[in-house]
Symmetry: D3
Subunit: 220 residues, 6 copies
């Protein structure tokens, strides 16, 4: 199948891109679209603020424009989906965002979704976005693990914090499905799900799976 | 990949199942899960009422139970998603419904979704379901083409009516994405989209694509 | 007044029907419609899952069809209102469901309603239904007492658990009116209300009262 | 049964009270609560503005206070439910309002309710109230017949206008149940329902029926 | 600039009016509209119930009518905005209410607003109003400090209680902006904001600021 | 009063900035904050797409950073409020956006707001934003006048189209207050209001008025 799904990590941290690449591996098939994961080198180390989110739109659009001819679809792999709507205007291909896809997948797995955010400063931004998506009627809560992007290299601590946060979402906020509010952490999905006993959505996988489907169907 | 995605048409009309089978063909890959489309022979010729929808749940659960060991996932291929929640309780595999998946896909393609229903008697049922899904804040309208299930064999007339209904949804109800509120009509998707100039979602394709993604990821 | 209001308990537990019968006694008047409470013998001992809810629709519709000529109205006496919409299609008489009527009565008694469920597995189902009813904007919470249907024969423990759950709904979820999320427990309504200090709605009474009104007005 | 349900027409037009009295007649039973319909002589001829609505609260509370010992329940019989919440604070008896009860009854009869208002100036007030009730997710439309309160004595013209307005609500706004947005017009309910082919709720009947149920259950 | 903005305290407590007068002082400019703060001597000492709120509408309208010719705008300075909609009907000038203006200002400062109420009995009334305003999707919580209107003279205790309540709104209800649900307490705004670390809105200031803008623009 | 309110037009069209400057003139007072209107020379001629909106955030933040020390507040004067949330993170001063302020002011003037957009391509973007604001429950409609930004120099045609669009919003969508969905057109506000007979909000004025209030109160 011609064309590549470009999953663009809009932050410049290669380790995140590597995590994404691993996350989408099961979605690659011999006769399906290729899936390539890219790092937006112009991006900040992590997207922590609205400013960060807005700042990557220009470079992301430019990068995507250069890939347009090779592309079958684009995935914006940051939980704020920066540039997703602008890229939909620019590209003739399907464009998915991981927050959007992750939340919608969650809504097929539970009735009230909770989100595990990395930073407290992201929560207002997430809520504005969920409002724009029209899903606040099924929102349980969005809580941060309170760790900086750099601390996330400590895997054990990260999982521990995600688990504790997930338990609060489940027990206090009555979430019956959890969305990981960040990219590049697919390796924690399964242990988290086991610890919490409710479904956990890794949003990059959700978006990439949607993209594969869209590409296959468009090609038909 | 072991396991089959069973797409179950809960009505007994084989032509609908054949249409579904054709619709999901692009989603089959050599190394992916098989996709088998089945007709629920115990179902009515078409699901036209709440009674019809409720009546197929028992047979559908029974049929799915018999397939559980072979199954990788199930798709309920009727726009009322009858039995979907009960099947989620019963099966250890992913279970998708075409209305749920179709609407969520639509919400990644436009801001206000419109639905083309076959029968006027389905609209209240759809609205209750959209309310349960929590998406009424993005609902534009749900209009019927006013043709009986049997009349649908007239393809030309069906497409003509769907086009007219879609134009009303677009122009009067301000829908910027349309969901086909029925299964087995994938062949009309592209001409409808061309006639309307806004994206049109075929919900069986949306659900089957989601199912493929879920199966691939679960197998990893 | 000709015609009987048939209150159908869709589970097969006669004790529940007896509790319902006692609950609606004050609504019987010498010149009003008769009220008869029936047990759906084909039903499960208790409706604990979506599967259970869906499974009773067929038998319930059949039973109601046999009663159509004698009937003045029907009440579906299970908090999931199984078959209510299908019965509305089938019957020319008023059809009320206890969850629908109970919640609407609650909304005339407080601003945010809480629901005491029996089983945790019912809560998602309730929430889907409240969403379909469009009342999530006034929803405070839905918490289970965590007792099996069989344990409910222990009246003291049941009331104790309902009281504790009601207090959590009142104090943590800010419910100012409580709906009992089950049928057949009218005897606990008053002690619960006294213990909680906020109005408590017994939903079978709410639905049967609505049915009496509808029948009297239709007969005029 | 001791105690009287006082249905208070907060405007001073006796003809409206007479219409209400006739409307609730079928709800009177030999062993049930008495139902007395009163005119608030201090009220304006019709409640046409927010000022009118607010102005009747004081006299209504005073009148109700004088009736408290005889009362079993109160019904505020004006579609703005003026004083209903204050009267709930004041009285130890059930207090129903016709708009609240009428809308909730409508929501058991259709999925999207339409309201036929008398005056255009009432519509904003109604919408604020429906917002407070949390039912805007099921609102289809609220349209006025554009006749002054005094013109309403012309029954033929009134019914004609109500029918035309109801048809617009049904066909353009997709209402599948209609609420009459005024008291004292029960005589038009049946012809309107026949002309429209969808259920029509007379709100005074809805509220009085609820009141009867509440009184019977409280007395038990 | 001709015309005066009349800020009417609808309760009869002069100390409250004095607090309001001090609160709006920074909004007075040499070339802008005068701002006069009045006490409605007919009002109760404090507005604690729906009855209290309704009772002041008549006197407030009368007072405002007498001021109409001198007025440039009116502000209703009680957090229930009693009479605001009726006064909008009566006056040709802008009419603002402090709850409405305070909540809207809050929504420009945070994503989820919390309200500090004085009395628990006000909370249901507030919620009905927020529902009418259509802002429940951004509502975090409304909690009372549990002090009588007379106790409020104890400034230290009042601030202490407001701070504790604000912390609960922030930490448990996830409010990121707080509205003071009462008039006349502007002196606590800054210490409260410092103690809580999130923006705090004094609603009389919000409304008076809006009024000044409206008057200046209308005069142009 | 020290400090200047900087109203930043994020498009590069000086005529728009001139229109804004004229619009806010009545809000300038001798003892109040200065109001300076600036053109973002790096911006496009008009903001017509999400891409345009996103593209101005960087330059706008940079420009505002340079003004931070002189500034008392910022107003983002484009109906998409581009960069508003990022600027709130960056600046210690109040930051208002014209869409947000305009809509909230509208909600104090009517129950259902309509928006007159310039281009059809802006409507989806507006709707996402109104969803994020949580005000869709009071949304009537958003219709475009269908003129390019350059055509807007034809004042007569522009007003004619705005009037026709406003009438549709009023009569078909039941808007009772209209927001002008663009900056720089304050000169049309009054004739539009006269032609429509419902309040019309010019959003730059609404935002600048709010900013003046915030600055005065912060300075106190």
């Amino acid at each position: 199948m011609a064309g590549t799904i470009f999953v663009i990590n809009p932050n410049s941290t290669e380790a995140v891109t590597a995590g994404i690449d691993q996350a989408v591996e099961p979605l690659r098939s011999v006769d399906g679209p290729k899936i390539a994961c890219l790092t937006l080198t112009e991006g900040p180390a992590g997207i922590q603020s609205q400013r960060d989110a807005d700042s990557v739109v220009g470079p992301l659009l430019k990068r995507a424009a250069g890939l347009e001819n090779e592309a079958a679809a684009f995935v914006v792999a940051c939980f704020s989906d920066p540039g997703m709507h602008a890229l939909r205007e620019q590209s003739r291909h399907p464009v998915l965002g991981i927050a959007e896809s992750g939340v919608f997948q969650a809504l097929t797995l539970g009735q009230r979704f909770g989100v595990i955010a990395i930073l407290p400063s992201s929560i207002q931004r997430h809520l504005r976005y969920f409002g724009a998506m029209g899903v606040m009627g099924r929102f349980a809560g969005d809580l941060s693990i309170g760790m900086g992007v750099t601390e996330l290299s400590n895997a054990e601590k990260t999982l521990e914090r995600m688990t504790a946060t997930g338990k609060t979402l489940r027990d206090t906020h009555h979430a019956d499905v959890i969305v990981m509010g960040c990219a590049g952490m697919a390796r924690f999905r399964r242990p988290l799900e086991e610890a919490l006993g409710v479904p956990v959505v890794e949003p990059t996988q959700a978006a990439a799976a949607m993209a594969v489907g869209r590409v296959r169907l468009a090609a038909a």
